[in-house]
Amino acid sequence: MADKGLHVRLNQQRPIPLDAVLDCGPGEMLALVGPSGAGKSTVLRCIAGLHSPQGGRITCNGAVWYDGAGGVNFPAWRRSAGMVFQSYALFPHMTAEGNVKAALGHLPAPERSARAQALLRQVNLSGLERRYPAELSGGQQQRVAVARALAREPAVLLLDEPFSAVDRSTRQKLYRELAELRKELRIPVLLVTHDLDEAALLADRLCLLHHGRTLQSGTPQEVMTRPASVEAARLVDVRNIFTGRIAGHDSARRVTILEWNRYRLETPYQPRIAAGTSVAWAIPTANVLLHRRDRPSRGEQENPVAGRVSEFVVLGDSASVAVDVEGIADTPLFMTIALHAAQRNRIAIGEQVHVSLLAEAIYIMPGEVSGGAPDTAASGTEGKNEEDDAGPAG
C-alpha cells in the first residue's frame, strides 16, 4: 500500500477549534508541541477514536479510521492505536501482567501470559508482574502503560505527555528507554508534549500546534531556528522578534537592507522580498554580541546598535541581558552572554552598551506583516510562557 503511515486532517469549531494537518511515517516519531490548551491532547484523542471531530479524515496504513464526509468513524476499540495516557490510566484492580493481558484480546488465551511477560521484560519490568499499580512507582507505572499500549500490536503509538508525572531523574531514564524502544518499532509514534526540549530530544520531527491549528512541521532544528511565522517563533521561545521594513537589496554585496527604526541592518540576501515590505524578523539571543569596552574589534562594524541595560539576570554560567535600544521603545533586545564576559564588561542595569547583531543570524520571517507601524516590535518581553497569549507584550 502506497499510503503507509498516519495521515490526519481535522476540522472543527466546537468545543475547541481545530484546524490540524499532520503526517507521520512508519518508524518516525512526531512530537506535537504547543502550549497548554493548544489542542494537542484533543488531536491525539481524535486519532485514538476517543473524540469525534466535526470534519476531516484520519487514515492509517491506508485504512480509513475517520472520514467526516464519508460518514466513517471507527470506535476506539476497532482502531489499531496504542495509547499511553498522561496519568497512565492503569486498571487498578489488575496486576501489571493483568493490565498487559487485558490488551491481548487478539491472542488465544493460553498465549497471553507469555506474551505479557515478554512485553514487561521489554520495558524492563521483569519480576514486577504480580504487583498492582498502587504498588508501583510512577516510572514503573509508565512502563506498564507503554507495554499495555504495545500489547495489541498497534498500527500507531500515541503518547500523551507520558513524562509529565515523573520526577526529573526518572524522566531522563525513561527518555533513554523510549529512545531504545523506538529502534524496535516500525510504526508511527506521536508524542504530545508542551516541553520543547523534550520534543527536540526525542522526536524526528516537530509539529507546532497553537489554538488548535498546526503552524509548522519540520525537524527540530528547522522549526526552532527557522520559525515560519511570528506565532511559530513565539512558540519555540524566540525572544527577539521585531518588525521592520525592507529598504532594498544590494546584489553586489549580496545583502538585504532591513530598516529598523533609525538602524539599517544588513541581513542575508533575500531579493524575492520587495523593497518597502513590512516584515517580522528575529535573531537568537546568542547571536547578539557585546562589544568589549577595553578592546574594540573589527566585528563592531557589523550592525552596531547602542542601548542601555534594563535587565540583568544571572542563570548559572551565563547571563540574560535586556537592552533598551535607542529609538526602540518598550521592546528590549535580549542577549545571552557568558557570565565572565558580563562581569569583565561591568554590565549593570542602566549601563550604556554597544552590541552587534550578527547579519547571518537575522532571520526574516516569510509573509508580510499587516498593519502596524514598521518600528513597533511584534513581541519583546514575552518569555517562556505556558498560557496562550497571542497579543503583543506591552
Binding site: A76, M83, Q86, S87, A89, L90, G105
Partner: protein, 222 residues
C-alpha cells in the same frame, strides 16, 4: 411468628433486588457519565422517594395502578388481574420506592472510575461489553453490593407504601412489617417482638455485609 409474611417479605426483597440490579446499573452509569437535558430533573425524581411521605407516594401509585388509569388498565388486560392489592403491584411499587437506595451508591461508584481508565480499556481493544464486565463492574462492585443490600433491607422494612398499594392480604401482600403492625393492633406483643427482632437482625446483617465488603476492596487495591 407469621411465616407466610416472612416468606413474602423475602420474596419481595429478592425480586426487587433482581429487578433493580440491571435497572440500577444502567441508570447509575448514565447519570454518572452522560450529560443530557433534564438530568437534574431525572436525579430529583429518582431521589424523591427518600423525602416523600410513604403515604403520599403510596397514594399516587395507588391511583396510577388503579383500573381507571392507562397503566392499570393495560396491566389488567395483559395479566387478568389488577396491580393494586397484588404481589405484582407490590413489586412495582417496591422497585420505584427503592430507586434512590439502589442507584445512588452505584452512581457514586461509577463516578469514581476515572474516564481515562475506561478510555484506556477501549484503546486496549475491549468492546463496550468487555469494558463493562472486566473494568467497570469489578471496580464499581462495592457500590453495587451496597445498593443491593440497602434495597433488600429497605424492602423488608417498607411499611407505608406497601400498606397503601397492597393492603394486608395474607400470603399476597401482607409483609413482615405489616404483620408486626397487625399483631400490635391485636395486642400480641410477643409475636411482634419476635418478628421485629428478626427484621432487625436481617437488616443489620445486610448492612454489615456492605461495610465489610466495601472495606475489603478498599484495602486490597488502594
Amino acid at each position: 411468628m407469621d411465616w407466610p409474611a416472612l416468606a413474602l417479605s423475602l420474596r419481595l426483597g429478592i425480586f426487587t433486588v433482581l429487578l433493580l440490579f440491571p435497572i440500577g446499573i444502567a441508570a447509575a452509569r448514565a447519570l454518572a457519565w452522560r450529560r443530557f437535558r433534564g438530568k437534574g430533573l431525572a436525579e430529583a425524581l429518582i431521589t424523591l422517594p427518600l423525602v416523600l411521605p410513604p403515604t403520599v407516594l403510596g397514594f399516587y401509585l395507588l391511583v396510577a395502578f388503579g383500573g381507571n388509569s392507562p397503566l392499570g388498565h393495560a396491566f389488567e388486560a395483559l395479566f387478568g388481574h389488577t396491580l393494586v392489592f397484588s404481589f405484582s403491584g407490590l413489586l412495582v411499587a417496591s422497585v420505584i420506592v427503592n430507586l434512590p437506595f439502589a442507584i445512588q451508591p452505584m452512581q457514586r461508584a461509577f463516578e469514581a472510575i476515572p474516564a481515562d481508565v475506561r478510555e484506556a480499556a477501549a484503546c486496549s481493544g475491549m468492546t463496550p461489553l468487555e469494558v463493562l464486565m472486566r473494568i467497570e463492574l469489578p471496580l464499581a462492585w462495592p457500590g453495587i453490593v451496597t445498593g443491593m443490600a440497602l434495597t433488600f433491607a429497605h424492602t423488608l422494612g417498607e411499611f407505608g407504601v406497601v400498606l397503601m398499594v397492597g393492603g394486608s392480604i395474607p400470603g399476597e401482600t401482607r409483609t413482615l412489617a405489616i404483620a408486626i403492625y397487625d399483631r400490635v393492633q391485636d395486642f400480641d406483643n410477643g409475636a411482634a417482638a419476635t418478628m421485629s427482632a428478626l427484621l432487625l437482625a436481617i437488616s443489620l446483617f445486610a448492612l454489615a455485609i456492605t461495610y465489610v465488603l466495601s472495606g475489603r476492596i478498599g484495602r486490597r487495591h488502594g
